[in-house]
Symmetry: C2
Subunit: 578 residues, 2 copies
């Protein structure tokens, strides 16, 4: 962290008329009485009288202490003379992590005592006055040890966990990246930032949407999984181009390790096609990419859904390493291995393999056993090879190879998804591969009526290092086509979407958009172990707030205005009785 | 709207090291195939081949049409020659509000046919090709007539209402103002934009918080009224300065005309005092104020709570006009009017009056009757004169005087509130005037223990033209003081806030902040009749979404995972039986 912090950005758009210069000096010391942060002072400041605020990171009893704030550390020299004995007494008794204010003079450290690893390592501050602003009781764990503690303890004491360098860095970088995204969308491309409601109602197939009781008996609001309907209606309303950093909600129920609320960069445009959205996103990410994390190249490569499944066994391939799936049917066609001949005898029977380079050298017997067990458990799934490819990569990396460098960013568009897929629980019925508002490929429109399973969609996913970080589509803008898809293909009740269907009949423009999973994207950029490390107050594995204890019981009186009561499960009813 | 749209901002901070230059050309035509918007073309474009997309605003049958998009209107000339007969047929049959794409050449309008009131009024486009992208069925009302329709109809067809100039202007200006606020806070002053959870739990006295059922029987999340607790914990976590454009939730129950969800500009800082927060907000508003709405002067004037009540009869005075409350007790002390003498005989009895200038000339008998009735209905309230002052202003304005110019912006800080007020329903008990985390005035700390009703707080409200647009305070950072206030003065259960109390014991820095009501602020800046005119999809008077029909019934199966059931009121139960 340097002060002044110079941010210099020159951006040339694809049109000559584009020019954006941003030169700004961030003032971290405005509106407060400190003269400097704890990360700023350098030899150039020697001789200056300064006022610093911070936390006592460390104290060498009565001699010096290290003061910390969000910007860094400063060495503070405790005066030893009689005139300052009260200052010495005050500071000596202050526990670690107390908050203090000190004033003093900046001096060069004695020769040989400079610390080259510390940005302020050339100087120290000789204290003139000091004040303890707040003391700190004994900590449940040391701030620097936070990373070794269980997640549960870290979450319970999140306000202490936040003092760590890593979390501060993650949250600040997140703030800066999103600010850059806003500049690109709002200032350079005229997108309008619009807030959409979160108290809405259930969408069809919205089993994952939280309910919110209302004061009208029997009626509930619902928290939306995305602003999908509203962003389309904004296009019908002629807003032309919209974006929002949107809070989305999803009740995953028995699928743990998901945040019940998460954030999307939500975008919609009128009169745009698939390529337009893709160029927008490439420009957005390139503009917002933090310099310290390298740079990204555009355009991103593109792969069809079929190719992704064939070569990588997944619709979100990690292209940082090879080990692609190879069709070896012809090679084995003359073999006399019974199960191979059996498989090849089927109409579309194939034999596929992945080659693990240096596998003989790096993998042990137990690794091969682990892969065999894994294969057995996924026996009838076509994604089996894809997941074995990833497990093999895990095993090779555990053995010391570097296959997937987290500081290298492989983006990829996956396109030409099918519009519909058979339902898992009942393959004779169809569901949307993306969502019901996705438009068919213009060449496949007639197939919609004759053979919907063959229709390709205008849906595109954005993959980063094998993770899905975004997805979107060009939408259906014809009310007739939308009604057909809902009622005749998906056999859904179109009544709950009547407002959207009617809106399409009032001159809806062609439109499309995309949403990026912000938490996931940031966690990949900073190489965090989990998305919980890029969220200030995340929920636990099971969706609980361990710090504040939510969700929590409420009294029957609190439920009364909402005309609801709790249906206690039988076991709990019995327990309550006894 | 000019293209290129040049935004030039030079900002000198109070320190010489401050410099921010922003020069940007917004490209509204990126990523799409249009060459221009419908508001851009000028005589300088004559001869150019252009591609435009838009809605048919008006058609002079088969001769010309007016094409509209978010930026403006363009006159489109329909070709009359045989070679273009298919184009003429296509466009002639297109209903108003259909979406079309046209290509053609820009020409000067014939002399005498220019329209000086239209930015594109010097030119027209002679169509070469045209395509109807989507038709429009018969509208429920004309777009230009939207403002005369009932709010209910406008809300039901919000996606049509959004096409009006006024709503588009409001939403775009809101987006730009908020972007400027972000630049000021994030880029110039180093604030970190942090998202805080909305699935939390009830706060003490949080009767207005919506509940969200969870899958744990009997346990509920709660939607917060503000990020208050979290922003304080971010300060304890050493983040130094935070902001968020935060969605807040409030179930107003039987108080209608409130949005159940609304937005605050939420801010918190460490090591700051009341004056620091005030200077920050003045700078923020000055930087973000839209040029087309004039400018504002800082610093804002300041008034104590006592002065506000005494002179204006309210804690949110409208200082755009006089008619202050005057104490005329001395003037009437020798009068022989019985009720006056009676009032003055009480220990703190006073007689106060407001003088209505030109009242004799402008107010009629029925106006005076109306004021008398109003006074009767508020007889025992000290705010009676304050509200009569406002009603008198309403009456004078109805008679033609201009007292409160909506394009003049009178900001005002109201300070020195009492820390506690007697509860309305039981005056022997105390409640917080602002909230329980507000710090007492440093000079009044000892009074906290001896006579809490006399303690002044470090709470400050921001008033604009008689509306409260913001409020904040310096917080209590001592766990001991906070516990005392909660348990001994407010007699609240401090257990539900144990995480916050414990956090204060771990070296919480002195901190304070503020929240601005964004919807209210924007509605005042654009002089909108209601905050519903600055929100894309507002709720109705009773908190309903009239377009999507929310809240709505759900099936018992949908309630089952949440272990709740509906308690139907008796009347409805009977109705269901029959």
């Amino acid at each position: 962290y340097l002060y002044p912090n110079v941010l210099h950005q020159l951006y040339w758009g694809y049109r000559e008329s584009f020019l954006c210069i941003r030169l700004s000096f961030v003032d971290f010391n405005s509106f407060v009485t400190r003269t400097n942060t704890c990360g700023e002072l350098r030899s150039a400041h020697v001789g200056q009288e300064v006022t610093l605020y911070g936390w006592i990171q460390y104290q060498r009893q009565g001699l010096f202490l290290v003061l910390r704030d969000f910007q860094g550390l400063t060495q503070i020299i405790i005066p030893q003379d009689e005139a300052h004995s009260h200052v010495k007494k005050l500071l000596s008794n202050a526990p670690v992590e107390s908050v203090v204010r000190v004033t003093g003079t900046v001096s060069l450290r004695p020769p040989g005592q400079e610390n080259p690893k510390m940005p302020t390592g050339d100087i120290e501050v000789k204290v003139e006055t000091a004040e303890i602003l707040n003391s700190c009781k004994k900590l449940p764990f040391e701030i620097k040890d936070f990373i070794k503690k269980t997640e549960a303890l870290r979450m319970q004491y999140r306000y202490l966990d936040l003092r760590s360098f890593q979390l501060q860095y993650n949250l600040r970088l997140r703030s800066q990246i999103v600010m850059r995204m806003r500049e690109y969308l709002c200032n350079l491309h005229g997108f309008v930032d619009v807030e959409t409601p979160t108290l809405f109602k259930r969408t069809p197939g919205g089993a994952k949407e939280f309910l919110v009781p209302s004061r009208e008996a029997g009626k509930f609001y619902s928290l939306p999984q995305s602003p999908q309907q509203f962003k389309q209606l904004l296009m019908v309303g002629g807003l032309d181009r919209y974006f929002q950093v949107a809070r989305c909600y999803r009740d995953e129920g028995s699928r743990p390790d998901r945040q019940p609320e998460f954030t999307q960069i939500d975008i919609e445009m009128s009169f745009v096609d698939q390529a337009g959205i893709q160029r927008l996103i490439e420009g957005l990410l390139q503009y917002s990419w933090p310099e310290e994390r390298g740079s990204i190249t555009t355009p991103f490569p593109s792969m069809t859904y079929e190719e992704a499944l064939a070569d990588y066994g997944t619709d979100k391939p990690d292209t940082r390493f090879g080990m692609k799936i190879v069709d070896i049917s012809d090679f084995l066609r003359r073999s006399d291995i019974q199960f191979v001949q059996n498989a090849l005898s089927y109409p579309r029977g194939t034999v596929k393999a992945i080659c693990i380079p240096q596998g003989v050298r790096y993998l042990k017997n137990k690794d091969l056993e682990s892969l065999k067990e894994s294969a057995k458990s996924q026996f009838n799934q076509c994604s089996a090879l894809g997941s074995l490819r990833l497990e093999s990569a895990d095993l090779l990396e555990a053995a010391g190879l570097v296959l997937r460098n987290p500081t290298v960013f492989h983006f990829l568009w996956v396109v030409d998804f099918p519009l519909f897929l058979p339902k898992e629980e009942n393959p004779t019925e169809l569901e949307s591969a993306h969502h019901p508002f996705t438009a068919p490929h213009p060449s496949d429109t007639s197939l919609l009526y004759s053979d919907p399973t063959k229709v390709r969609s205008q849906h595109y996913d954005l993959v980063l290092n094998g993770n899905e970080v975004g997805g979107g589509s060009i939408r259906i803008h014809s009310a007739e086509q939308q009604r057909f898809v809902l009622e005749k293909v998906l056999k859904e009740d179109s009544e709950v979407l009547s407002h959207l269907l009617e809106a399409l009949e009032f001159g809806a423009p062609p439109h499309g958009g995309i949403a990026l999973g912000l938490d996931r994207l940031i966690s990949l950029i900073v190489d965090a172990p989990s998305i919980r490390d890029v969220i200030a107050f995340p929920k636990s594995f099971k969706g609980r707030d361990l710090m504040g204890n939510a969700p929590d019981y409420v009294t029957p009186e609190e439920l009364e205005p909402y005309h609801i009561q709790v249906s206690w499960p039988l076991a709990e009813k019995e327990a309550k009785k006894t």
